[in-house]
Symmetry: C2
Subunit: 159 residues, 2 copies
DNA sequence: GATAGATCCTTGAACTTTCAACCTTCTTCG
DNA sequence: CGAAGAAGGTTGAAAGTTCAAGGATCTATC
């Protein structure tokens, strides 16, 4: 193997700032949701995606694709959320391989209850610290990255 | 509680792009390091931070602060890395409360061996997708965020 | 020079995530 | 039709993380 192109000092600084900041940001979301709703952020995302779907329902693979979760991870998470009575699963009559997950009323109540605190956390930890210009740049940069990292993935809401 | 300021459509898009992209990015690093070095990314960071320290040594709390890990998480991780013979821990003679972690020769070999692939992954997944302007913006944005989220933390290398 | 409190780190249990193996159902095609 | 393979999900075990509690050691203060 040939000598790789190491990161120069500025790249190094940028990379670490990104790493640490996104880690801190994610941890802060996790703590807020664990405190207010008793679930980790990834679980909240599952509930939120279901809450936006028509009939509050999606197949497991749709959830997995939209939320970028592995099938296994989603399966375990769904089992936990089902235990809590926040999600219901049933086989799809039109394709027996699929399982349709539905957000229950109780599940919707959890999302609705946790959403304000969650939004406040996202604002407080991210948007409030940046200028409007930076927010625009952030959107463009991560839009590009998302395309780059997951070219076939569902993009975030209508661009 | 008063009605929160919800995210508008553009903020929503930006937020999700950031969320998904950083998740994909982190997963790709994790997989690469798990494959090439048999450890998750967080463990690699511990080894990397030690490799840069003088005497390849730091106290546990220094590592925790630099790598932004909880004491508990670090403690468990260090135990695993010690099992592998990549890190050694001993009590600090000058302050009996502290534990000094040292990167062993074997540990250094692991970092050295994994580094090229890791850098290539970071370049491929992040820097290569962005313009020089965007890279500069990224650095500024996350530098700001890091200050915002962890005002007292060690900043990334000399600013 | 004691003792209260702070600092530093570890531990065990509960929970989450990953990985590989597996089961079903659907589709394709000879 | 019937077998082979693809698609959709699940499972159990191993590994990683969090949380609350606790054991040492040091510092400050009386």
């Amino acid at each position: 193997m040939t000598e790789p192109r190491w990161l120069n000092e500025e790249e190094q600084r940028t990379w670490r700032a990104f790493l640490w900041a996104s880690q801190l940001l994610h941890d802060s979301l996790d703590r807020q949701l664990q405190r207010d709703a008793g679930i980790p952020h990834a679980y909240y995302v599952i509930l939120a995606m279901l809450s936006e779907a028509s009939d509050r329902s999606l197949t497991m693979s749709q959830v997995a694709e939209i939320a970028r979760l592995s099938p296994s991870r989603l399966s375990h998470a769904a089992a936990r959320l089902e235990d809590k009575g926040w999600v219901a699963r049933r086989r799809n009559p039109e394709d027996g391989r699929q399982i349709i997950a539905t957000l229950t009323d109780a599940g919707l109540a959890v999302v609705t209850g946790a959403a304000p605190g969650h939004v406040a956390q996202v604002r407080g930890a991210l948007f409030d610290a940046l200028t409007p210009d930076q927010i625009r740049q952030l959107g463009e940069i991560f839009g590009t990255l998302l395309e780059h990292l997951d070219p076939d993935g569902e993009l975030t809401p209508e661009p």
